[in-house]
């Protein structure tokens, strides 16, 4: 599903140049559950953002579903992204002014799903995430675990083929963290490809494969049995 070759990303700030990704090459097949690990600042989020087409690589190639997307225009990337990829963040990134229902509904609005269909699909996914009883609450009224459920619901409501999760359990206690990992595992078992950044070896064990980064390069790959 994903094939990156010699991917590079630099950040230039007032004469200091940071190499966030350094000739990184990775391949991920459809249906995989991959964990990405490494020390802080090694380029994990940068990689995830590029995979999610939120950001452009400076050099190298990125083939998504057999299409070279490395130098797609913003508009094309956005189009590809909203139909294929869901995001889960460490800090949930829910919109405070919208209710649970409205937050989950947003991706459907942006992909032009008609209103009646939207209600059905939002309710379906809220049910699955067991957060239906909170549908009219605002994010601030929920616990961290509940907020992350909403965020995952929002990420999957469009039935994406790929879910990118950046430290999804980073702000949660272990019980809630395990719940989230169960949810992701379920989704993976139903066919969704998942790439997850994590600091926790425990969480990484839910995945099929661990890619370890150091200074923007892949150093080790562990295959889980």
């Amino acid at each position: 599903m994903i094939k990156i070759t010699n991917l590079e990303k630099f950040y230039r700030t007032e004469e200091v140049e940071t190499i966030a990704l350094n000739k990184l090459s990775i391949e991920i097949a459809t249906g995989e559950f991959v964990a990405i690990m490494g020390p802080s600042g090694c380029g994990k989020s940068t990689l995830l953002n590029i995979l999610g087409m939120l950001d452009d690589p400076d050099e190298g190639s990125y083939v998504f579903n057999e299409i070279e997307v490395a130098h797609f225009t913003e508009r094309k990337r956005a189009d590809l992204r909203k139909h294929n990829i869901g995001f889960v963040f460490q800090s949930f990134n829910l919109i405070d002014e919208l209710t649970v229902f409205e937050n989950v509904e947003l991706p459907l609005i942006y992909t032009g799903v008609p209103a009646s269909e939207r209600v059905k699909r939002v309710e379906e996914v809220l049910d699955k995430m067991q957060i239906m009883h909170r549908r009219n609450h605002y994010p601030q009224q929920l616990s961290g675990g509940q907020q992350q459920r909403v965020a995952i619901a929002r990420a999957v409501v469009n039935k994406p083929k790929l879910i990118l999760a950046d430290e999804p359990t980073g702000n949660l206690d272990s019980t809630n963290g395990n719940d989230v990992m169960e949810l992701l595992t379920d989704l993976n078992e139903q066919g969704t490809t998942i790439i997850m950044v994590t600091h926790s070896e425990h969480d990484a064990r839910y995945s099929h494969r661990i890619i370890r980064l150091l200074d923007g390069q892949a150093v080790v790959e562990n295959i889980m049995v």
Partner: protein, 801 residues
Amino acid sequence: MIRNYLKTAYRSLLKNKGFTVLNVLGLSIGLATCLLIVFYVVDELSYDRYNINADRIVRITEEARLNGNAGSYAGTEAPLLNALKGNFPEIEKSTKLIPASALFISPQKFRFKKGSTNLQEHNVVFANSDMFDVFTLPMVDGSPLASLTEPHTAVITESTAKKYFNKTNVVGQTLTLNDTSVYKITGVIKDIPAQSHFNYDFFLSWSSLPESHIYGWGVSGQHNYLLLKPGANIKKLEAEILKIEIKHSFSPAAWTTGGNYLKIILTPLLDIHLRSDSQYQLAKGGSIQYVYIFSVIGILILLIACVNFMNLSTARSSNRAKEVGVRKVLGSARKFLVAQFLTESILVTLVSTIIAVFLAWLLLPLFNQMADKHLAFTTQSLSWLVPSLIVIVLVIGFLAGSYPAFFLSAFQPIDVLKGKVATGFKGGFLRSFLVVFQFSISIFLIIGTLVIYNQLNYIHNKSLGFNRSQVLVIKNTGVLGNQAKILKQELKQLPGVVSTTLSSYTPTGDDRNKTGLFPDATIDIKKDVLSEFWPVDEDYMGTMGIKLVAGRNFSAQMPTDSMGIIVNEAFVKRFGAKDPLNKDVYRYSVGLQKFHIIGIMKDFNYESLKEKISPAVLTYALDNGAISVRIHTTDIGRLMSQIQDKWKAISPNQQITYSFMDEDFDATYRSEQRIGTIFISFTTLAISIACLGLFGLAAYAAEQRKKEIGIRKVLGANISTIISMLSMDFIKLVFISILIATPIAWYAMQNWLQNFAYRTSIHWYIVALAGGTAVVIAFITISFQSIKAALNNPVESLRSE
């Protein structure tokens, strides 16, 4: 401590440069505009206050209604003052002025000799030495007691003395009037302040008037003033004077029948300029209506500017919540925080005020030109300006700073640090309210401007019943005497001249002559038709392009035409006769005169379009005051020099005075034109200030919602969705403003239009245009920010954790 506040304030303002610039800019433009308006209003309100006894001086004004003609007149009868003299203890002094225009000899022109040429002067009045008892007109040479007592004496102003003699001590010198009479100067007064309801350069002694020009009862042309004793009972005095008036009037009984009335009003001197709309006043007055309108606009613009300031300060304060939290955790007491915020906003106001004064000073010449004023920064104006500015700085600074100062400083530091108040941007009801307020005012002003221009346009294009284009009026042919007739004939021969006519009464001119006309010889005042009565020649209607409806024009071949008249349709309506053609009409002037209606002409507008057309009558008689020339040429310059040559051939020493009729027409509406220009400037200013504020608010909104925008983009929102989302929040407010402003503006402008007898209506597209303009301007303003925000890379805005 203060130094510490100032230092911190200075740094904080510097750190938020954009915010500071927007605030200072908006506030100083608003304050400068307001200052100019204050200057204007103060000037208008200061009329005639230079008189020490201003509050005790009154003008005797007459209000009358007779046979459907109602009006208020600034002039009253000549014998009136003598009749009052000695009989009323509440009258301390009295005086009279009689302007040349009231002498009823057509047209009274004054030419004074300077060297070998004659200068035409307009500001000439006849007066008595008691003028100095009532008005405060200090003398620089001569003595009031010895002035204007003898026939053929004159008092002139300082600048007139300089103009004719190059010095001011000219008592004893003489001035030659119209080449015939010699006036001895007995006094030189200081120039009369511009803020005066009369402004004359020459005061000629009353006793110089020939006997025949002093009228008796029944002719009102004299301006009579009284200096009252303190506490005089004005109502009682008015009633007493009325009794005298009625006793001496033509037919005392007529005033109590059929809706007729006569009233005497003692108009306070200080009301003459702004509140008196009497006819025949000594100078065109101002209008209290416009003083109110401008005061309101000034206040509104200042409010818009203050609202901006408050809005931007509160918007920014939510960004500063964290700073407050930190300061509080570090132990800062609430009052220090309050002091800190207030110092900042007062500092901004102070800087803005200083810039505003400078701006106002720069703009003053422009404003003077626009408002036809001579306003200036003087030490006297500074004496009230400086204290009021200090008050303004404190009040505005305090108001604008109070929200962040008191509201934010009251937060619990822990809430602030947890970010609970930082999200308060969208819920800002106050902020929305203030934006609606600003835009309602702006839209109101846009509608006002459009209506004014629409009306001016209507006036300009209205068919007037005569043709004012390509008509040259030579206005001082009176100086040629009988040779005016020769000039008329010679001009007619020129190529490019279509026709010429001799009469000082033109539809766009100032010369007017009202007279009473009667259907029978009994001169029954109840049947009086008050009409304009203009002496013209047989070429008049042709040259002016006035249409004949029935009958015929005057003809040189018909000797009886000297008693023939041509009447307009308004006259016919008032006259009442079924078939007025060939009917007789009587006039009582120097004995009874009988006229014969030989023609009926179409109504034409000879007064401002504020008035309905009233009866007008042309009579076949010689009046050599002016020549109107209808021209048809492509080379106006050449024709003009030919006309000048003809003039010079007849009168080498006199300057020709002329103008074009369409210019004269436009001059009638100069005050409306002026209001239009002023309105458009104020509207532009109001909108600019409001947009500055909107610009700032949009920037803060985008800043506050940066993360939300990032999330939405990650979830698939495209750029146009984001832009319209950010813009809609504000555009919504503009739409609310349109709903609020439209009915108010409609009502107000409908009122203004009532001033005109001939007016347009307020079309729906004016409202649509005003609303559309506001929306578009607001949208463009916001777009700068929303486009920037929408183009932002979401990774950047979500990266912060």
